[in-house]
């Protein structure tokens, strides 16, 4: 990793959230280590390991139509292998039939070039069940 600052921004936006928004499961999971943990803090829901993370995303993708993440502001710390990101989420739950807007943040801690621990805070009901 020659220049870690843009790497951290790009893995979050151009790989991870691009994969989520386009429902590309393999692209999303390729951002995580096999033993990664994703913890939704506002409901204290923990997804431990890549199989659990896959199951969570299968649920997210199947229960929602359009998903969009944008308006990012990143706090990037290459010294601590971390990037914390604030962003807007626009999402259309199938059962609701209308768009919800969230103002969320994620804290990503990397080991090498992939996510090891991800913490999610949501401004509304947990969507990552």
């Amino acid at each position: 990793m020659n220049n870690p600052y843009p790497y951290y921004v790009d893995i979050v936006t151009k790989r991870y959230f691009d994969g989520v928004d386009n429902k590309r499961m393999d692209q999303v999971l390729d951002c995580f280590h096999p033993d990664a943990v994703l913890h939704e803090m506002t409901s204290d829901t923990k997804h431990d390991g890549i199989d659990a993370i896959r199951t969570m995303f299968e649920g997210l993708f199947s229960t929602n139509g359009r998903i969009w993440h944008g308006n990012f502001v990143h706090t990037v710390d290459p010294e601590d292998n971390a990037v914390c990101s604030q962003f807007t989420v626009e999402i259309e739950p199938n059962e609701l039939g209308e768009e919800l807007i969230y103002q969320n943040c994620n804290r990503f801690y990397l080991k090498g070039d992939k996510f090891q621990n991800v913490y999610v805070y949501m401004s509304g009901d947990n969507l990552l069940k």
Binding site: M41, T42, V73, T75, D77, E79, Q86, N104
Partner: protein, 132 residues
């Protein structure tokens, strides 16, 4: 918004954890407010609530500091973006009221620094909003 900051990595950590949270825990109102610009915005994103300007922030802290006998912020994990004047931190807040009831929150704050003070603060809480 992007702001020019005059603080280095250690200065950003000192501002967020010592000057700010150290004085919140000590209930030093003027020292808390000295961390903010007059036009600062303080937003609790998980409650869709913004306190505008130093007067709005003072009113919020008057309520908060008066609601608990002891306030402890601890176990900080800081993420520092020195070149952009931004710092984020996760931490545990332990709030004990006059009846001894304890509220524990595992929150994340984001601070955007202009010069050597906060211009914007964003709080994401793991539970109900205590900064009303």
């Amino acid at each position: 918004m992007q702001y020019p900051s005059t603080l280095d990595r250690d200065g950003l950590i000192e501002l967020a954890t010592k000057k700010y949270f150290g004085n919140v825990d000590a209930k030093n109102m003027e020292a808390i407010l000295d961390c903010f610009h007059d036009t600062a915005l303080f937003t609790v994103q998980t409650d869709h609530l913004t306190h505008e300007g130093k007067d709005g922030i003072r009113a919020m802290f008057e309520t908060f500091l008066g609601s608990y006998e002891t306030i402890v912020h601890q176990d900080f994990t800081c993420t520092v973006d020195e070149k952009n004047g931004r710092i984020a931190a996760s931490f545990e807040a332990v709030l004990t009221d006059a009846d001894g009831a304890v509220t524990r929150l595992y929150n994340t704050n984001f601070w955007r620094v202009r010069g050597d003070r906060f211009q914007e603060v964003y709080v994401y809480m793991s539970g109900a909003n205590v900064l009303v």
